[in-house]
Symmetry: C2
Subunit: 369 residues, 2 copies
Amino acid sequence: MNSRSSTRRDFLKTSTLAAASLPFIGALTPSIRAADPGRKLGFALVGLGNLSTNQIVPALQKTKFCKLAGIVTGSSTKAERWKAQYNLQDKNIYNYDTMEQMADNPDIDVVYVVTPNALHAEHTIKAAKAGKHVLCEKPMEVSSEKCQQMIDACKKAGRQLAIGYRLHFEPNNLECVRLAREKVFGDLKFIEADFGFRIGDPKQWRLNRALAGGGPLMDVGIYALQATRYITGEEPVLVTAVETVTDPVKFKDVEETIAWQLKFPSGIVTSSTSTYNFNGMARYQAFAENGWFELAPAYGYNGIQGRRSDGQAINLESGDQFAAEMDNFAQCILKNQPTKVPGEEGLRDIKIMMAIYEAARTGKSVNLA
Amino acid sequence: MNSRSSTRRDFLKTSTLAAASLPFIGALTPSIRAADPGRKLGFALVGLGNLSTNQIVPALQKTKFCKLAGIVTGSSTKAERWKAQYNLQDKNIYNYDTMEQMADNPDIDVVYVVTPNALHAEHTIKAAKAGKHVLCEKPMEVSSEKCQQMIDACKKAGRQLAIGYRLHFEPNNLECVRLAREKVFGDLKFIEADFGFRIGDPKQWRLNRALAGGGPLMDVGIYALQATRYITGEEPVLVTAVETVTDPVKFKDVEETIAWQLKFPSGIVTSSTSTYNFNGMARYQAFAENGWFELAPAYGYNGIQGRRSDGQAINLESGDQFAAEMDNFAQCILKNQPTKVPGEEGLRDIKIMMAIYEAARTGKSVNLA
């Protein structure tokens, strides 16, 4: 078993590895070293779009170990509105040019990067240079090279880097991982995992390759890809893919619909589809020797539920996934333990997604082994 | 629109084409020409395995225009049992060496070929030479060449050849075709269609490449392939595929699990999987601009049902599919009208399945256009 698959197999565990064994965790930050280990870490949000506004800020109110401490925005209007709404101090409000000055601000422990995909490296690296831990939204970036730069910058700064894979903290998804790991239905054989939606506004950054790096695969297909990886606990070795465009005006820049198949070392095959052109596809189903289990819907902010071939329901109380994700990261930082969703995990997905694009473009299967 | 797609678009129609326009229908057989058009056609079953015993013979009792008139079997034990059970006359009982003598037997109008796949051509051609119409189980044969020989033999004999695609006569599947053709949810974008099961006895002919021609794709994956073709009403132009073996002893001869993707001229993509190694996969779901529809299970002898994104159920009374298929073929013969499931339709599937195998073997997409 290589180190990549052992990381995957740790999905269920709260790691108790000593910090000494973790090359990517260096010296603790002064603000943390001096702090009460039970205190709330200060989060600064970078990018105040829909996700920050409607999910992350409300979630911060529900955390045990986190609080909103600052913002980074290019919009003075948004800065004013957030300042008033969340009672922020002027010294904790930054723009993209000033955010490196956070180095002098002990109120901010963690920077949560919620900007368009192709800006993640820039904002992560600035945060790391300012001595902050970084939680970065998925997809990690738009190329493997930029992901590696983010990992290197955080390592050099002795700060943790986590990717916003909220489903790693979602009980129904964790239950499916358990069903797979404990072989409740025997050895896994096949997974079908799909996620897509019909996108609206044709002018949004998600349809702009320069900012998004790709289309539905990068945005939501990544959840289906993640599911096939955390359910199997393996890394794919072969990719085939096909993509299609039926609306070449709207989808001039990024793919409209893409379907891909992965083969894993144990022989498990997975088949996935992602789209920006129709609704209704948001599930996965895993087939094993003696039965199957399914989540449908599988990836939402709420309402995740499923069933098993033996008639049992999968319907665990989910809570706020963003709150769980942020609290987990805060605990990792406070206890100097590794996150289970590190930059390396984000990089793996980017590499696989680039291989999916290559397979679709060339019509040839791509080896990942 | 080429002739292939027009055939597909006729799925819903009972054709009223004049016989003159049908090159594959020649002179009527004497036995029919002289007969009461309302009489029951005599069917001879070739191959008395599980399907004949448990599905086709019971279905014959439910038909309006068909009756069991004879059998062809290599087993004298089966011959005796069937003779007694169905009150068959000795002159209507044949073996594989004597079946050409049916030419002199006016009791037999139609030969239903239910032998292993790689014997379909031999038995179809013998039946055609004996002047009989032929209904042949799917898959049509194990190669395009042999399919073409079957088509040619029936054409030369002036007899009709139909392939046993029972779902073309199944109301819930026909309802899904209607939803697609009438664009009830707008233009189709994507279809997921899967069918597989965990196979038992490792010694059965279905696991023997020489007799089966392939594994689950040929046996049950063909239903998923058919669904993607009759729902789209188009012919695929591009194939990608991947296969896997986790039990190389049991699956030394045919594939264990195979996943394939098809791209159609309008841009619709379909993703399908078939397997002999796990249960639970027997559905299709079609996604369109404004909604989706699904059958789950989609392909069984009974229990087919589904749902739509608007909350409506799809749950039409199905009846016996084999009876519907045989009665339809009898009507086509009696009225000298073309079947909607001719040999050409079976050949198309064989060509596509061979391309799926090629794509899986080479790791390269295969163009079918």
